[in-house]
């Protein structure tokens, strides 16, 4: 896996996402309250573009008629059949063991760290005083 500098942190605010190309793959970068996660932009069901789906939370229940809602914005729903995937793990809600989207490591690095390389060259300048999202893919 190569490391790709895919965006300045400021470009993907909390709750935001960006689709990037890396190693020939379309990958979605998510910002969950300052933590970055990356998933292949391809639903394991029929290949739908997950990046076109809505963000949702986790709805659970202890008994019929009760609703427990948590983790707002931490799941993405495929726009084709509305399957829910956990952005943190890529696992589907309904079958986490077998139905999952491939996740990729994503992290934040400072321009100073990046200056030391080795990184795949990007189309924007890396400034020592800025922070960047780095994807391993």
């Amino acid at each position: 896996m190569a490391r790709h500098v895919v965006a300045p942190v400021a470009e993907i605010p909390p709750g935001g996402r960006k689709v990037v190309e890396a190693d020939g793959k379309r990958i979605i970068i998510f910002n969950l309250s300052g933590e970055f996660f990356a998933l292949l932009d391809r639903c394991p069901h029929q290949g739908g573009p997950l990046s076109g789906g809505i963000l949702c939370g986790l709805t659970q229940s202890d008994a019929p008629g009760t609703y427990r809602f948590s983790r707002a914005g931490e799941f993405i729903r495929c726009p084709w059949h509305q399957w829910e995937f956990d952005i943190r793990t890529g696992k589907s809600w309904f079958d986490p063991r077998r139905t999952k989207v491939r996740p990729f490591p994503a992290a934040v690095a400072t321009g100073a760290e990046l200056a030391e390389g080795p990184y795949v060259a990007e189309t924007f300048p890396v400034l020592v005083e800025d922070a960047y999202v780095v994807l391993e893919a």
Partner: protein, 353 residues
């Protein structure tokens, strides 16, 4: 024929309202006569329809067999049946009066008890439930101490969907007493039997029953009844079988996408149904070649769901062909003995009055 085979769907025909009068209190005994209510026929089983009663089992005037002697001669003794479950279809669901529905259900159940259960120790029966939830609950509590009553019986097309919360006290009582909820083909005729309106023909209505079963099953599942009452078994009776895998496929597929609407359904509907729902095998609704039947059984993904039933005296087969053609012989001990015993707790315990 396995000696201990359990026939899960037998229909004792009430010969007329007069036969029920001795089992009614004074008010109902008088008022039914006074009002001239001598018969109650549901359009679900037209008396002369060939499917309603097998030709060689009809009486001299074409009437359905209505006493235990006929059942013994035509079915129990002839096939060596170990136990049989009586599902009375006298349409107590028809009256709009809650009180009349309940009075008739009580009478039918007491008639079954006195004229069938007391006369053959092999017999068990369903508690025929009236329309009203409170009345149904009362009937369950009244008869549950007699362990020859092994399930509660409703129709697949009643007044409201069976999963609705109004019904939960009934489901809770059934679970508490170890009684499955038996859902039989038929309608209370409160709604058209198809969702697009009234059918014109009997065959159209007959075939529409599977839609009623699907709606009932989906209601029980989506409302969370099966999850809330995990000990409750649901038996689809005279439902047909082969429609189920396709329906479960659709239900489960849809659930994957919109399950957040019913978060209490926290595992695939097909799994829940396989755990808690059973079906009698007449009618079976499948071709007769073994290979096709095997494929269909494969789609069910369970060998525990099917229960042997002849559906006596409805006409599904000729002679003694009590098992649908094509069912693998190796499966018969399960279908005829093991599965019924696993489904009906009270069959395992042995029934007593």
């Amino acid at each position: 024929m396995t000696i201990a085979a359990i026939d899960c769907d037998l229909h004792p025909a009430v010969p007329g309202v007069a036969a029920l009068l001795p089992y009614m209190d004074e008010y109902w005994r008088h008022t039914l006569v006074e009002r001239g209510i001598e018969a109650l026929e549901s359009a679900s089983y037209p008396p002369n329809a060939p499917s309603s009663v097998r030709a060689d089992w009809r009486g001299a005037k074409g009437q359905p067999p209505s006493d235990v002697g006929a059942l013994q001669a035509q079915a129990l003794d002839r096939w060596g049946t170990g136990a049989g479950i009586l599902n009375p279809l006298f349409p107590v669901q028809l009256p709009f009066s809650r009180d009349m529905s309940a009075a008739m259900a009580r009478a039918v159940n007491d008639w079954v008890r006195a004229e069938w259960l007391d006369r053959d120790a092999r017999l068990r029966a369903s508690i025929l439930l009236p329309n009203g939830v409170e009345e149904a609950l009362a009937e369950i509590e009244r008869l549950a101490p007699d362990t020859r009553f092994v399930q509660g019986l409703v129709l697949c097309m009643g007044e409201i969907p069976l999963g609705r919360r109004e019904w939960w006290p009934v489901h809770a009582a059934l679970e508490r007493h170890g009684l499955p909820l038996g859902i039989h083909a038929g309608s209370a005729w409160r709604h058209p039997p198809t969702s697009v309106g009234w059918p014109s023909w009997y065959v159209e209505e007959y075939a529409a029953n599977s839609l009623g079963f699907q709606a009932s099953l989906a209601s029980l599942l989506t409302e969370g009844v099966l999850g809330k009452f995990p000990g409750l078994k649901v038996v689809l009776i005279e439902s047909g079988v082969s429609w189920l895998p396709g329906f479960l496929w659709r239900l489960t597929k849809g659930w994957k996408g919109v399950r957040f609407e019913i978060p209490w359904v926290d595992r695939p509907p097909s799994e829940i149904v396989r755990d808690q729902v059973r079906l009698t095998i007449r009618p079976f609704d499948a071709p007769e070649d073994g290979e096709t039947v095997a494929r269909m059984l494969d789609h069910l993904r369970s060998d525990e769901m099917l229960l042997w039933a002849t559906d006596w005296p409805h006409a599904h087969f000729e002679g003694d062909a009590t098992v649908p053609a094509g069912l693998p012989a190796g499966l018969l001990p399960k279908i005829m003995v093991k599965n019924p015993r696993a489904t009906y707790a009270r069959l395992r315990e042995g029934g007593s009055a």
